[in-house]
Amino acid sequence: MASIEGLFRKHLVICVGAGGVGKTTTAAALALAGALHARRTAVITVDPARRLKDALGLDGLSTQPHSVAVDSSAHFDALALDTKRTFDALIERFAPSPAVSTRILANRLYQELSNELAGSAEYMAMEKLHELLHLRRYQVLIVDTPPSAHARDLLAAPSRLANLSASRAVSFLQTPAGLVGGSTSTVARLALSALLKALQRWTGFDLLHDLADFAAAFEHMIEGFRTRAEEVNRLLRAPSTAFVLVTTPEPHTIETAISFHRELLDGGFPVAGIVANRVLAFPRLDETEAGAATWDARLRAKLLRNYGELHQLSRRDRRALRRLQAETGAPLLAAVPAMSAAPTSLAGLERFARLLVSI
């Protein structure tokens, strides 16, 4: 029932996983396969490696869809997200006046927040996705995501900024005592003023002022963010959406995939299954296979030793994938055999796609 081809009946396919597991390549290959399955497909890639970028014909800052021809009849659209972009463009769009946007952009806290707290790359990915889906130009939209340690960094991105100004951090500034459950005892007030002093000393007296200033300026544009965030949140949980966990058999990435899966389920997001990349499959050799070659003894010994080493790694990979399936209960949609290097051309990407999906 769970097949990777099933993904092409979805509108939105989101590839998630640790950094460096081949998410971008997988997303691009899925788009290519989607095109060969005669679906109008687009892929949003995040920070693709230079050579994949070249293969897809994406130049430096192509944030607009760009057509990639697989053959004479099949093509898909690709675009790259520039993760270095911040909220600046968004602030300028939503701010009620240039004066307000200048004030926000110059705010030290904003600068910190736009980089760290709000996860600008994640936000931009979600923002772009929203924009493209509204064009209704594509049947399938494949989304590569920024490398995040946690699914929540990505999925909470739309809400995070909207929640910020409404957060109790701001009301705390007005009525600090509310923080300790309505307690108005002298002890509580003393402790709080000590805390505030510590924070002020910490930040060179500016933080609280900055925060208040930021909140006040931000209040004007919060409605735009909030509406947008709600729409994206609804979209991510729709039955026409599928999350794909991309991983390699490395212990580190397996753990990330397991925790991603848990967070996705907890959040009510639809998970379609797992794609495992760079899987080694050198099974135990039987005597006839091992003895078939007519090599001299020295080279034969080397060949056997090399095979033995790769067999060890293959066993490790198989164990890791079994563990991942046991922990998540999610189906393994594809296990792509290890290649020595990532695809660097459209032909290479097509080979990868054929290992991933039957075309």
Binding site: E112, L113, A149, S167, F172, A191, R305, Y307, L310, A341
Partner: protein, 331 residues
């Protein structure tokens, strides 16, 4: 004994930071350096390498001369504010509140500063405290966060020029900027993304922050099993009349291609940074064995700690080597 006092091991997740930190820690301890490994991740892998179950928030002995400790950003912040607030019960409620979390998350550099302050206390303990460590190895965090961490003292020293906070910031700035005391070691894999990140990080650390970055480590490099002639034979054979490639040959071709790919990345790193990377080989066992750790330790120790010359000195002049009396005999 010469060599650095503080060594940051960084690189993106899964590149083998913990293995590198463990190998270096063990190597330093064998060279009679009172060594502490600081684990910033919470996966407990470091303890596992040495056959222990878990690390604690205070240094714990792994083996002779080698301690390890786990630091958690949230615990550091809580500890700091509990110290300031003094009222235990109240501070607990306060620290559990969302508003507090929002404020500390927004206060730039607070967790970074507290981590660095902790490191400083292990290297330069105050009067009347226990002796410090001769070498503190920080396992992690990832490259992005490491940059932020190492930038913090400078930002803070400008922001808060005076007071006890400013004083600590300046002490940290002096420690990090001292090339004989502090070094950063970048670990990467023979993969495009990892190598690119290493180059960018090294340039940022050396350029903007003027830190001492050692030669980078490139981990999991496939061994070179086959000579050029053999490789040629292997790659030409077996393609006759469309028969499938025998598994032995397919495996050999895979290994040769991986080796070539790794050599390409080594070359790329060398050209971009002007130094030869430290090469650690791919291991084929599920766990890192003690013997592998020792081999890695020797390779890394030579390049990152420069112990060869230094250990020679300490053997000829044992009296100049500090901290010997506290040590168990070498294994």
């Amino acid at each position: 004994m010469r060599g650095p006092r503080l060594l940051f091991v960084t690189g993106k997740g899964g590149v083998g930071k913990t293995t590198v930190a463990a190998a270096l820690g063990q190597h330093a301890a064998e060279h009679r350096q009172r060594t502490l490994i600081v684990e910033t991740a919470t996966d407990g892998r470091l303890a596992h390498v040495f056959g222990h179950r878990a690390l604690a928030a205070t240094p714990r002995r792994l083996r002779a001369g080698l301690d390890a400790v786990r630091v958690d950003a949230r615990e550091l912040v809580e500890e700091y504010f509990s110290r300031l607030l003094r009222f235990q019960l109240l501070s607990k409620r306060l620290l559990a509140s969302n508003a507090f979390n929002a404020l500390t998350a927004a206060a730039p550099g607070i967790t970074e500063f507290l981590l660095l302050e902790k490191l400083l206390s292990w290297i330069e303990p105050g009067l009347g405290r226990r002796r410090g460590y001769e070498l503190v190895i920080v396992d992690g965090p990832g490259t992005g966060h490491a940059l932020k961490l190492l930038r913090t003292p400078r930002a803070l020293a400008t922001m808060v020029p005076g007071g006890p906070l400013g004083k600590t910031a300046r002490r940290l700035l002096a420690l990090l900027g001292d090339h004989s005391r502090t070094r950063v070691l970048l670990v990467s894999l023979p993969e495009d993304m990892s190598v690119r990140e290493t180059i960018e990080t090294q340039q940022a650390l050396e350029g903007d922050l003027a830190l001492h970055v050692t030669r980078p480590v490139i981990n999991r490099v496939f061994p070179r099993h086959f000579s050029t002639t053999e490789a040629l034979l292997i790659e030409q054979d077996g393609d006759r009349n469309g028969t499938p490639v025998p598994p032995l040959l397919a495996a050999a071709r895979f290994a040769i291609a991986c080796r070539r790919e790794a050599e390409r990345h080594v070359g790329h790193l060398r050209r971009a940074l002007g130094v030869s990377p430290i090469i650690l080989r791919q291991l084929f066992t599920p766990d890192v064995h003690a013997a592998d750790l020792e081999t890695f330790g020797r390779t890394l120790g030579r390049a990152a700690l420069e112990y060869e010359a230094a250990s020679g000195t300490s053997r000829t002049h044992p009296s100049t080597s500090s901290g010997q009396a506290q040590h168990d005999s070498r294994p």
